[in-house]
């Protein structure tokens, strides 16, 4: 419950303050969003399985965002940035789908 309220507050603050994202950060924003979705769905699934741990949630989220951004940064420097961001999105996307499927099974028992 606290988590949902905090999430809503965060979204509202983010939309209302609308900070300008510097240009160099632009390519990493979508990656960070995908990593955040992965962390949120993972947390939700853990919550439903009664194994949720806030510290694991926060550290996994931050580490995912940083590693994903670093991989894309490295790819940009090597000239394969778009391919590596595709790789990051594919891997995180598979995890998101897997977690979403587990949540669905948990909720609907099907």
């Amino acid at each position: 419950m606290y988590a949902v309220i905090a999430l809503a507050i965060g979204i509202v603050v983010g939309v209302l303050t609308s900070p300008t994202v510097p240009d160099w950060l632009g390519p990493y924003l979508p990656i960070a969003v995908v990593a955040a979705l992965d962390a949120v769905l993972g947390g939700l699934r853990a919550k439903l399985a009664d194994t949720f741990d806030a510290k694991v949630f926060v550290t996994s989220f931050i580490a995912n965002v940083l590693v994903a951004a670093f991989i894309v940064f490295l790819g940009d420097q090597l000239g394969v940035g778009s391919q590596l961001s595709t790789a990051v999105v594919v891997v995180l996307g598979i995890r998101i789908f897997g977690n979403a499927a587990a949540i669905r099974r948990h909720i609907f028992k099907a």
Partner: protein
């Protein structure tokens, strides 16, 4: 992680990697934390709640900023595109307006000239204007209709140089005036390609393209058939299925070319004297092939 790495000594290790990717979608840390909690060495509930709230606020912030950013970006792109479209439309309107005023003024000039006597310098002026394609003309000749079925999909078989060759063939077969797609060719006209579009005298020409040439009706077609351009398009018909249709026309009417817009040259009064007398001693010739 070291305790659960399925099948590292499996010969199909890459598949094991993909397998673990699809199977272990939940972070293994959760399971381990739950086991620690069961053993009774978990963190306190208050600290956990602080972590949770801080983390979810950060996640929400990230999502909100991304949302706002995406909206702002798409709005900017839309605005830029609309503004550019508007600029293009305005420029086209202005061009049409100016072209109309040019032809109106040219008609005024011509009517004023026809009021004057039709001899001497004025006759020379008419000859020069005809040579420079500044007056609309009519006469018998050839009509060539080209069609490129691949042009709409960006896979065009006909290039600018092919049309240049064809038009040069028409000039060498004795054409006295040529219009490509309704654009009259003058001495400085160019036929060029910009992307998939053919530009004649910097004006885009749409497919199917009609090339009209006024010339001696008795032999222009025979001469044209033996030119390199005709041969090339004949083979294009067989190779690429382009449309190439040559018909003799009894009466063609070609528009005037755009007026020459000389901006830098100035004629001194003395230089006009020999120019007006010269063509009376020497009959005007057809302008040489002006394309490319």
């Amino acid at each position: 992680m070291a305790d659960r790495r399925p099948g590292t000594d499996d010969p199909a290790a890459p598949f094991a990697l993909l397998d673990s990717l699809t199977r272990d979608t939940l972070d293994p840390g959760y399971e381990r934390a739950a086991r620690r909690r069961q053993a009774g060495i978990g963190s306190s509930k208050v600290a956990g709640r602080t972590w949770l709230i801080a983390g979810t606020v950060v996640v929400g912030l990230l999502l909100g900023v991304a949302l706002q950013n995406t909206n702002a970006n798409s709005a900017g792109v839309d605005q830029a595109r609309d503004a550019l479209n508007l600029d293009v439309a305005n420029a086209q309107d202005r061009e049409a307006e100016l072209a109309a005023s040019v032809s109106g003024l040219a008609a005024q000039v011509r009517s004023a000239q026809s009021g004057a006597a039709d001899t001497g310098p004025l006759a020379t002026l008419n000859v020069l204007e005809e040579m420079n394609a500044l007056v609309a003309v009519t006469g018998p000749g050839l009509r060539v209709i080209l069609n490129d079925p691949g042009a709409a999909t960006g896979d065009s078989a006909i290039l600018d140089r092919d049309i240049q060759l064809l038009v040069n063939g028409l000039w060498s077969s004795g054409a006295e005036a040529i219009a490509v797609g309704g654009v009259r060719l003058r001495v400085t006209s160019a036929i060029r390609q910009a992307g998939g579009a053919i530009l004649v005298d910097n004006r885009p020409v749409a497919w199917p393209m009609t090339i009209e040439a006024i010339g001696d009706p008795r032999n222009i077609q025979q001469k044209f058939i033996s030119t390199a351009g005709y041969g090339r398009f004949n083979s294009f018909v067989q190779l690429y299925g382009v449309g190439f249709d040559v018909t003799a026309a009894e009466s063609l009417s070609l528009p005037a070319a755009a007026a020459v817009d000389n901006r830098y040259i100035e004629t001194s009064p003395s230089a006009t004297e020999p120019l007006t007398t010269e063509p009376t001693t020497q009959p005007p010739t057809t302008p040489a092939a002006p394309t490319s």
